[in-house]
Structures are given as C-alpha cells and as structure tokens.
C-alpha cells in the first residue's frame, strides 16, 4: 500500500533518518515505536509531505509521491493534540477538507453526517464548539476530520499521549475498534510499548533515526532483533557471564561471552522442568501488583527479577532461599 525506500532526512548537519525502508500493507495497523527523538514524527511527516527527504522515495501503490505537495497527497493525519480548529464548530472542522475541495453543500452534509455516525458523534455534538468536547470526543472529531475525504491511509502521531492513563486505555480500544470498522491502512506513532503491542499488526522499532526491527508484536517481544529492541520492549533480565557460567549454561548451547537476556516471565521459581537450567537465589525485595508479584532476587551476586502469578497462596518472604530455573531456548543472545 505505502512504501518508503532508503529515506534519508537531514536537519542541517544532523541526520534525523538514516536509510529508512518499510512497506505497510493494505488495511494494516502499523506502528512506529521508539524513544523520544528517534525520528518517528519525522518519518510520519515525510510520509505526509511536510518534510522532503534528501534521498529515497515514498510510494503509495505504484505512484511515487516523494515530491508531491502536502495539499495534494490525501493522506489522513491525526495530530498529537488533534489540532482541531478552535474557531470552527465540530461540523465545520469535519467539513473543512471537503470544503477545500469545493464540494457542494448537500454532498458535504451527507458525507459529514455519515462519518459522524460512524465515529458516534450525534447532531447535537456536531453543532458544538471544540472547547465544549471531552478529550475522547475531540479524538473522534480528529479522526472523522481525517477520514472524511476517504484517504487510503491515515497517520496518527501519539494521539493518546496527553490523556490520563485510564482514558488512554479506553480510547486505545475505541481507536482499534474504529480502525477495524473502516479497514483503513493505519500508521501509528507511539513511544508507549504497551500501546504498540496491544494495537498493532506490525511494529517498526526505531532507534536514533534507524529501524532496528520490523515484526509482529510477538516477534519483536519474543525474538527481539537487537539488544536495543529487547531492552526497549517489556521488562527484561540481563544475565551476567558470571551467573551463566556458574549455572553451567555454556554446555547448554548458550554463548556466555555474548550479551544474554531473558524475559521475567520465562524464569520459574521452585518449578524445575526437565530441560531447564537452574540456580539458587535469595529473595531480596518484592513489589505487589495485585495481578502478579514481582520479586527482586539475588542469584550468587547477580540481581534478577522474576514474577509470580498471584495465586492467593502465601508469598515468598524476604531472605527466603528459592530455586530458579529457565529454558535455555528462552535466552536471547546478541
């Protein structure tokens, strides 16, 4: 549907994007994930045309749009703060893109009404001022405004980042629902890994203007392509060489000279399985999360974290000796 090939973007001497290539399929929910300043917005702005790349090309289908002006691209965009026009009503905001196209009044009205009902805004709300809407309603207006011109692609730049935690989860679900309903190709920017994992069909993990990995959520989580990716996504234990050597991991297919990582939930407490590597440890501290309990343990000088599902049974005490074990296949080596 849309593809970037070998994009390079510079601001003066600073290279913001090095050699970015990716292809987003039709109807896909594609997420750009990465820490602040890694180039997510820059990538999105290259797609929407606000930034012209030094090198590389942007294609929608077979059409090359690298040098097409912003106004002519018809790629929908939802801004971080929604960028709704404060002096216009909700209706006028949604109608803006159609009016620019010099569409007739009646046609505009029917299109606005149609999209409004899809995003569940009623006639009453259409007449309101932007400032009279809640955060969630504003988001729906922004989406309606971006979709009313039926663009083939919609880009969203951290649309949930300035909402409080609870609303964020609620709107996240609404957003996914809408995306399914419209079946529209979506490029979504976030620095929140949980958002990325829960929403996306595929994720591109960015770091310092480069893509580290593109893959399904389970791929980037379980088979991280780089040390950066496995550290950025989810919680992880770094296994020291000392710990691995003591546990005899070298004989079990692990190169102890490499950087080795394992997810917290892949370490078991007092639950040895046949092919597991195991080690003695002492409970140092715990954090109670309700759903699960996160223990900080010390295994012969290496600090690790493990989690236990909250079964209602008694918890391990501080200072208690435990036995931990893990499958060598769960270890990611770089």
């Amino acid at each position: 549907m849309i593809s970037l090939s070998n994009i390079k973007v510079c601001f003066g001497d600073f290279v913001a994007l090095h050699d970015i290539s990716m292809t987003v399929e039709k109807g896909e929910f594609f997420t750009l994930l990465g820490p602040s300043g890694c180039g997510k917005t820059t990538t999105l702005r290259t797609i929407t045309g606000f930034i012209k790349p030094e090198i590389g090309s942007v294609k929608v289908g077979d059409e090359e749009i690298t040098h097409l002006e912003v106004e002519k691209r018809n790629i929908g965009m939802v801004f971080q703060n929604y960028a709704l026009f404060p002096t216009m009503s909700v209706y006028e905001n949604i109608a803006f893109g159609l009016k620019v196209k010099k569409m007739g009044k009646a046609e505009i009205k029917s299109k606005v009404d149609e999209i409004a009902s899809k995003v569940e805004l009623d006639q009453d709300q259409l007449g309101k001022k932007i400032s009279q809407l809640s955060g969630g309603q504003q988001q729906r207006v922004a989406i309606a405004r971006a979709l009313v011109t039926s663009p083939p692609i919609i880009c969203l730049d951290e649309p949930l980042s300035n909402l409080d935690a609870k609303l964020r989860v609620q709107l996240r679900n609404e957003l996914k629902e809408l995306q399914r309903k419209f079946g529209i190709t979506t490029i979504y920017v976030t620095h929140d890994q949980e958002e990325a994992l829960t929403l996306s069909d595929r994720i591109a993990v960015f770091n310092k203007g480069k893509i580290e990995q593109i893959g399904r959520p389970d791929e980037v989580y379980n088979q991280s392509a780089s040390e950066f990716v496995c550290n950025f996504i989810g919680d992880i234990n770094k296994l020291s060489k000392d710990f691995l050597d003591k546990a005899g991991a070298g004989q079990r297919g692990i190169d102890t000279n490499k950087s080795c990582y394992i997810r917290l939930e892949r370490m078991y407490v007092n639950n040895h399985q046949e092919n597991h590597i195991d080690s003695e440890a002492v409970v140092e501290n715990f954090e109670y999360y309700g759903l699960y309990i996160k223990y900080t343990i010390n295994a012969g000088g290496t600090q690790l974290k493990v989690i236990e599902k909250n079964s209602g049974a008694s918890m391990y005490k501080m200072g208690e000796s435990i036995k931990i074990s893990f499958d060598p296949a769960s270890v990611m080596q770089f």
Binding site: E69, E71, N81, L84, F85, T87, K101, A146, T149
Partner: protein, 567 residues
C-alpha cells in the same frame, strides 16, 4: 515539471512580499531618520557643525534643553511618590472604598494628553473654575498661578501616574503574601515589613517605570505648550517652533536627534534592567496579598485623608469638564455652575457646524485609516517572521521595532524633511502637507505596540493547526484566512481599537504633520485653548467628553471583560 512551476510561483510571491516590507522599512523607518541626521551635519555638500553652534548660541534652545532636564527628574520623583502611595492605598493597605478610589486614580487613562492639559488649564488657569474659587477665598491670590514649571509638573504628574499605577499593580501581585506572614511571625512591625519585604519587590519595576517617566518628560509637548508659559518651554515645543521657520530647520533637526540619542540611551538602560529580571517568588504556592490594616490610628486617618484628597484631585477635572460641557458659554465664562444653565446647546452646536465637527471627522478618518493600515502591515510582517526564519525576516522583525527607539518628533521631522521634495523611492511624490503623510506618521508611531502584541498572538498559535489545514488540502492563503486569522482576530481587533483611541488623542505627531485644512482634533483643541474664548471652551469640553467616551468604550471592550491583551 508542474511541481517546480508552483514552487517558483510561490517563491515569487514570497519574494515580492519581502520586497514590499523591505521598501516600507527603508523608506518609512530608516531613510527619514538618516536624512534628519544628515540634515544636521551636512549642509551645502559638506560636513558642518554649524547647527551645534546655533543651538549653543540660542538662549531659547538652551533654556528649553535645560528645562527638559529639570522637568525629567522632577517628574520622576513626583510620579514615583504619588504612584507608589496610590498603589499602596489601593492594593496593600486596608483603605475604605479602595475600589472607588482605584477607579478615580485611573481616570487619567481615559483622558490623557491634550484633553487633560486643556482641562486642567480651564480649571486652574486664569479665569478657571478653581482659580475663581481660590480668588474668592483669598483676594490676594495670584490668578496667573497656573503657569510655568510647577504647572507643567502638576499636570504631567497626574497625566502620567495612570500607567505607573497599572505597572506597579502588576508588580504588587508578585508579592508573595507568605513572606509577609513569615515576617510577621518573626515579630516584624508593620512598616518594617513594608520597607523590608514589600518595597524591595517593587524596586525593579519601579526603576523601569521611572525611566519610562523620564522619557515621557523629555518628550513632553502639550503640557509645556499649554501651561508652560513663556518661561518654561521644553525641547519638543521648541523643535515645533524651529521646524516652522525655514531658517531654523537644522536647529529643530539637531534637537530632535539629541532627543533621539537620549531616548536610545534610556531604552538601552531599560532593556538592561529587564534582562536583570525581577525577583521571583521562591514558594510554589503563592498566596495573594491580604490587605493590611494600619495599626496606628493617627497614620490611619492621615492615609485616608490623603487618599480621598487625591481622589478629588483626580476626579474633579473630569467631573467638571463633563458638567461644563452641558452648560452655556456664559456660565463657562463666569466659571460658576448653576442648575438652570444646563443645556445640550454645545453638543448641538458642535454637530451642526461644519467647522466644529470637521476636526472630529478628520481625526476619525486618519485614525481609522492608520489603524487599519498598521494592522495589515504588521500582520504581514508577523506572518513572514513566523513562517520564514531567516536573516531577512530577522532584519525586518528588528527593523520594524525602530520607532520604539525614537521620539515622535524625530519621526515627524524625518518624514517632513525627507518627503518635502520628490524622491524616486517614493515614486517622486511630495508628501509633506498631504493626507498620506499623516497616515504614515500615525502608522509609524503605532507599529511597535502593534507588532509586540500581534507577534505574541502569532507565536501562541499552534503550528499543528496550519499543518492540519494543509494536510486536508488547503492552500497557504486559504489556511491563513480561514484558520489563522479567525484565531488571532480577537487580539487584532483589540489592538485596532486601542490604536484608534490613542490616535484620536494624538497630539505630538499630529502637530507636526497636519495640514491647516485638515486639522485633527487634538490640534484643534490646542488652537482653541490658545484663543481662550468662552465659546471655544464649550466646544473643547464637548471634544473632550467625546474623546473620553471613545477611550472608555475601547478600554472597556479590550480590558473590561476577560482581557486578551496585556501591554
């Protein structure tokens, strides 16, 4: 390539706009001032210091210079004292009726400049209402008492405290009441707290506003002109006189340049002061001031007496002007109010005689034209400096602030001396004595204020709005008119209204640039005042009331309800 064609067309338009702005900057703001300087130092094709010699040898010029430099510090002191005392009365101490008092002290914001001066002259001058009362009480009272240095000082003190009070009031709100409570808690006495805690916070803004007062005094025009008498003329009235005599233009120019240099130094001082910054409150949660009761009963009574006396001084002229505007000329002549003399005659007269209402039309016309023009030019400037950040836009941004550094006289003289002959850069049109030069002059003096506020409005705009509009397919111009302009419109309208009301009252610029056939209101008031016939007085009062109404309405619209603009 179509893409390249549109790119080039856009570039061409932007280039033309830049060219236009650059032309305005050079021809209106730079060249005239350079020309004035040249006019002083360059005569008959060679460098000369003759103008200096002439100023040094002219007793009148030297007196004017000396008078200005006597007036400036004197005014700084009186305004400082009265300003601080009034702010303490309305904002810090618990004085009964402080809301009414504050309104009274602010009246000079509504009737400033020439109306105030002529109003004061009608009340305190020879044959004035109050002078008559004084003379009736004391037969030896000198009826010409209201003339010269003290009269100028008196008038200007009350004319300039209004701004002073506004400024200090803002500063006062920066006082953290917790620090006052802490001092009390440690056992400090009331006046120790005032001296050690409250006043120090006020000192940096007080210094700034004092410099401002100093500048105002140096460039005083209407007060010395109307109540200075023969012995107390200052720089600006002198420049005015010199500029009207063909042989003395260089003297006028030199004195204007001198004033410009003085202003420049003061502005530099001011910005250094601002850079040093104010005292910031260290506490996270600021508590606002609780009015302090004055413990000492004697002091308390004295403060109340002073507060209400000042109230009368402020309000009496306004009330009397309004009352007298509704009496016949005979009553005005006698200076004695009586109920039976009440009439609308003056208002009817003003609006039925062409010669009387013409100045109103002239002022409205010029002020309107200039307010619109300056708004448009400044919006274009702001659009360019926010959209394109390059060296040229920076030059334009700073260039347009030039008038802030220059007294109105200098600007006026520059325009007169530059455009009294055909210039190729003005399409060979002579402007001196035309209506255009008035509009240009009016525009120039309102540029700095307009630019500051408009720029702030533009910078407060969210860039994403414009991106969003483009993303939805809107062209640059469409985006500007449909998205950007509606958002900044409230600010623009507020600035427009303030500019209009200020220009309606303008004297300093008008008096240099007006054409005798198109006399603006302020100049007309001055002329009428000089002739001092009772009939003229009645007309002046009507003018004054009209101007007060305009500025009251404007101030109410702009600041009264949820203010959008702060100076």
């Amino acid at each position: 390539m179509k893409y390249l064609q549109t790119m080039n067309r856009k570039k061409l338009v932007v280039g033309l706009i830049y060219l236009g702005l650059l032309w305005f900057l050079l021809v209106m703001l730079v060249i005239p001032n350079i020309n004035t300087v040249l006019f002083v130092f360059w005569q008959d094709g060679q460098f000369t210091l003759r103008a200096f010699e002439r100023v040094l040898n002219s007793t009148r010029a030297m007196n004017a210079l000396r008078n200005s430099f006597v007036l400036a510090p004197a005014l700084s002191i009186t305004v400082g004292f009265i300003g601080v005392s009034l702010v303490l009365i309305t904002e810090y101490f618990a004085v009964k009726g402080s809301k009414i008092l504050r309104l009274g002290y602010m009246t000079t914001l509504v009737y400033g400049g020439i109306i105030l001066v002529s109003g004061y002259r009608f009340l305190y001058g020879r044959g004035g209402y109050l002078t008559n009362i004084f003379a009736a009480i004391n037969p030896y009272f000198n009826v010409n008492w209201f003339e010269g240095f003290w009269a100028v000082l008196f008038v200007m003190t009350f004319a300039t405290t209004g701004n002073h009070i506004i400024f200090l009031r803002n500063a006062m709100s920066a006082v953290d009441y917790q620090t006052v409570e802490a001092a009390k808690n440690m056992g400090a006495k009331q006046f120790t707290i005032l001296r050690r805690i409250v006043l120090p916070v006020l000192i940096p803004p007080l210094l700034a506003v004092t410099i401002f007062t100093f500048m105002t005094a140096l460039t005083a025009t209407s007060a010395p002109l109307l109540v200075g008498g023969l012995n107390f003329q200052t720089i600006n009235p002198m420049i005015l006189q010199f500029s009207r005599m063909a042989g003395s233009r260089d003297l006028a120019a030199l004195m204007a340049v001198f004033l410009g240099v003085a202003t420049l130094i003061l502005v530099a001082l001011l910005s250094r002061l601002e850079k040093r910054g104010h005292y910031l409150s260290a506490s996270k949660v600021k508590t606002s001031i609780v009015k302090q009761k004055i413990h000492n009963p004697v002091v308390n009574v004295l403060v109340h007496v002073y507060a209400y006396f000042m109230f009368v001084v402020y309000v009496a002229p306004v009330v009397l002007i309004i009352l007298f505007s509704f009496t016949n000329s005979a009553t005005i002549g006698r200076g004695q109010l009586s109920f039976s003399a009440f009439t609308f005659e003056n208002y009817v007269n003003v609006f039925s005689r062409v010669s009387s209402y013409r100045p109103i039309l002239v002022s409205v016309g010029f002020s309107l034209a200039a307010s619109i023009a300056v708004a448009v030019v400044v919006i274009v400037v702001c659009r360019m400096i926010t959209k394109h950040k390059n060296r040229l836009s920076t030059v334009i941004e700073y260039g347009f602030m030039i008038p802030w550094l220059l007294p109105a006289v200098l600007v006026a003289l520059g325009l007169i001396t530059t455009f009294n002959q055909p210039r190729w850069f003005m399409m060979n049109r002579v402007l001196t004595g035309t209506m255009i030069i008035m509009v240009i002059g009016y525009m120039i003096i309102r540029i700095p204020f307009t630019l500051r506020i408009t720029r702030a409005a533009f910078f407060a705009l969210d860039d994403a709005l414009e991106d969003a509009a483009r993303n939805l397919g809107a062209k640059s111009l469409y985006t500007f008119f449909r998205v950007i302009l509606p958002i900044i419109l409230p600010s623009v309208l507020a600035i427009f209204a303030l500019n209009f009301s200020q220009l309606m009252q303008d004297f300093d610029m008008s008096v240099f640039l007006y054409h005798p056939l198109n006399m603006p209101l302020a100049v007309q008031i001055q002329t009428l005042t000089e002739e001092a016939a009772a009939d003229n007085t009645a007309i002046t009062f009507v003018y004054a009331v009209l101007m007060m109404v305009v500025s009251t309405v404007v101030l109410y619209l702009v600041y009264g309800r949820g203010s959008k603009v702060r100076e």
